[in-house]
């Protein structure tokens, strides 16, 4: 019966996938050593990627926790535009009447802590200090009773004690104390400016030394009672921010609606903004995006979400993720070169066999599929081994973590993590990586196969 030239593809007989899979699987055993070497390279890449992804996620989670626990809380109320200017520590963008806000939040059982943030120079002198010295620092007046409801500075005190209301006391970090040679009980002098811009000098005694896992706080910040800051800076009860602690599984997921409702109940109206509230995907908002902030119409007070306040940190982490992407790319290149080389050798060594298969009627697509399946098999093997090794590494990282203390000791950057950072289990990332490796291996195999299939059947059959 004549062969129809216009045969429909679906009517043409084709090699079943079972045969191609069986053939590919058998071919994997043909060059065992080569298969294992390539699979090992892929396994190495997958394991390293899985471990690094776990650690990066751990770093982000640790950074978010440290931001929430020591710098921002779940959300904050500030004077309008304060957050954008906060690096200058302005004392002219304030919440003038924090008491009414605190009352409203207390009534709704929302933990809130007022703070006055300002800039000052901390000066120490020889005896009792080893030598004269000074440091320009961020200073916060905190309410010793309310602050622990939102922040964890109180838990971070490792020597001396936490602050008490109205005392001329100061909390400094271990990091700073070691550099100044300070001890609990030593006096310090702080020079700063009042709310109205006049020079002011404060004489305080160190009552406690704290040590948080947030190096940015440790390296820059001292704390004193709110009343002392209020008095010396002539704040007249005004504060720079009221920080909030809200129920949330991870920072950035809190529902801000209860805050809005509590303030509205007390007649403190915040300008409504469309689509606000927590980001369901826990994405970080960037300044200017809707929902990031509420502008107070009557009070000039705005409600800032965690994501809004930590946008710069998120941007820094994105840079880190980009660096991670470069490592991923390099690992990908290793895998691609390995699999490409293996498949190129396999294809070249089997060229006559390919010629035979084409001669007996195997289509180019079927031959491509066979090699893709073979390479994907190597990728899958490497991915599975890598997944096992990666799981072991993640298990170690999640249990014991990595101690960054020594590594970050001399680094002058805004890190939000210190000490031991733990890895995070993310089965989705792990599985995606392993499957991705198999898929990538399969795709890479197309390159050498394509080269061979460009040759004629007779050319392939002549190869030895």
């Amino acid at each position: 019966m004549p062969v129809q030239d216009d045969l429909q593809p679906k009517r043409r007989p084709h090699a079943g996938p079972r045969m191609l899979i069986r053939l590919a699987a058998k071919n994997l055993t043909r060059y065992r050593r080569r298969t294992m070497i390539t699979a090992s390279a892929i396994a190495f890449g997958v394991a390293i990627f899985v471990a690094m992804a776990s650690l990066l996620e751990g770093l982000i989670a640790e950074g978010d926790r440290n931001l929430a626990n020591y710098e921002t809380g779940s959300a904050a109320l500030t004077g309008q535009g304060y957050w954008d200017e906060r690096e200058q520590y302005p004392l002219d963008i304030l919440i003038e009447d924090p008491a009414s806000i605190l009352d409203a939040l207390d009534a709704a059982d929302i933990a809130a802590a007022p703070r006055v943030g300002f800039r000052g120079e901390l000066i120490v002198h020889y005896d009792p200090y080893p030598e004269d010295g000074s440091a320009h620092l961020s200073m916060y007046g905190i309410n010793p009773e309310r602050d622990p409801r939102v922040f964890r500075i109180d838990e971070a005190v490792t020597e001396g004690r936490y602050l008490e209301a109205d005392e001329h006391g100061l909390l400094i970090s271990r990091w700073l104390a070691e550099r100044l040679g300070a001890e609990v009980g030593f006096p310090v002098t702080i020079t700063t400016r009042t709310r109205d811009g006049f020079h002011q000098i404060m004489d305080l005694d160190i009552v406690g030394i704290y040590e948080t896992p947030n190096p940015t706080v440790d390296r820059r910040t001292v704390f004193m009672p709110l009343e002392i800051a209020d008095s010396y800076l002539e704040m007249q009860g005004a504060v720079t921010a009221v920080h909030l602690a809200l129920p949330e599984a991870v920072p950035g997921t809190a529902d801000l609606e209860p805050v809005r409702a509590a303030l509205a109940q007390a007649g403190i109206t915040l300008e409504p903004a469309g689509g606000d509230g927590p980001d369901p995907d826990n994405n970080r908002d960037v300044p200017g995006e809707s929902g990031a902030q509420d502008h107070g119409a009557a009070t000039g007070v705005e409600l800032l979400s965690f994501d809004y306040m930590t946008a710069e940190f998120a941007a820094a982490m994105e840079l880190q993720e980009a660096a991670f992407g470069v490592i991923l790319f390099l690992l990908g290149v290793i895998a691609i070169v390995g699999i490409s080389n293996t498949m190129l050798m396999a294809v070249l060594e089997r060229e006559r066999e390919i010629g035979m298969m084409r001669a007996i009627g195997m289509r180019d697509g079927e031959i491509r599929s066979m090699f893709v399946l073979e390479a994907a098999g190597i990728g899958l093997l490497g991915g599975a081994i890598g997944l096992l090794i990666g799981a072991g590494l993640v298990g170690y990282l999640a249990t014991y973590g990595i101690d960054y203390s020594a590594m970050l000791e001399g680094v002058e950057m805004d890190f939000r993590f210190d000490g031991v950072v733990y890895g995070v289990w993310n089965p989705e990332t792990m599985l995606t990586t392993a499957i991705g490796a198999a898929a990538l291996a399969g795709v890479v195999a197309l390159i050498p196969v394509r080269r061979i299939l460009k040759r004629s059947v007779t050319e392939s059959l002549r190869q030895h």
Binding site: D5, H14, L23, N27, T29, G361, L461
Partner: protein, 231 residues
């Protein structure tokens, strides 16, 4: 059944051009046991490749079982693959078996390409392996078979799909004379019992002696075409 009309084929090898076929015409009827003989470079492998649809002629006509392969209105390359898959069986000089597959799997692969059901593949493969004298050796890989047994597997692979024609390029060249003769006897008996058409290329006198028809090529031209026994 197969008509070759004034086929020309020229190869370019570096700066040299080789006129492998210079106007070959041939009619092959069903059931023939034909040997194409000639010295190296006479064009016999090229002619076999053209007939087997794995190479195309520069000019001339080729039709297989009513399909016009070459020349104006020839079939597409996709249809050529279908012809090779369903109608042509190949036996190569160096067997060309897949080393990781067993004898059974090497033969069954030809049927898998036709999309047949597993049960039919099993039945036909077992039957043809018995036919070529390899019953009980189905699970052996090529490395565990002798040269003659490997060529029997190759013959089985060519025959299992019940092709219109089996093309064998120097099928005994890699075998000792005794084994080569056994293979020839096997093919001859299949030709006589089933009526499968065989075309060989060879320069081996023994192969020529087995042929019912002997076609001698020289410098790309048919020198003689002699029918020795009627098919």
């Amino acid at each position: 059944m197969i008509n070759v009309t004034d086929i020309h084929k020229e190869y370019i090898d570096g700066e040299t051009s080789v006129r492998a076929l210079r106007g070959v015409s041939l009619h092959i009827a069903k059931g023939e046991f034909l040997s194409i003989a000639g010295p190296s470079g006479s064009g016999k492998t090229t002619l076999l490749n053209v007939i087997g649809c794995i190479d195309t002629a520069d000019s001339g006509g080729l039709s297989i079982d009513g399909d016009r392969i070459n020349g104006a209105h020839g079939v597409s390359s996709r249809a050529l693959i279908e012809i090779r898959r369903a109608k042509i069986g190949f036996v190569f000089q160096s067997f060309n078996l897949i080393p990781v597959l067993t004898a059974y799997e090497n033969v069954a692969m030809a049927l898998s390409l036709l999309g047949l059901a597993e049960s039919e593949i099993r039945e036909r493969t077992t039957k043809i392996l018995t036919e070529v004298g390899l019953a009980g050796m189905e699970d052996r890989r090529p490395a565990k078979l002798s040269g003659g047994q490997q060529q029997r597997v190759a013959v089985a692979r060519a025959l299992v799909k019940d092709p219109l024609i089996v093309l064998a390029d120097e099928p005994t060249a890699n075998l000792d004379s005794e084994t080569g003769e056994a293979i020839l006897k096997l093919m001859k008996s299949i030709n006589q019992r089933i009526g499968t058409t065989f075309v060989f290329s060879t320069h081996d006198q023994m192969v020529m002696d087995y042929a019912d028809r002997l076609c001698r090529l020289h410098d790309g031209l048919i020198e003689s075409d002699e029918v020795r026994r009627s098919a």
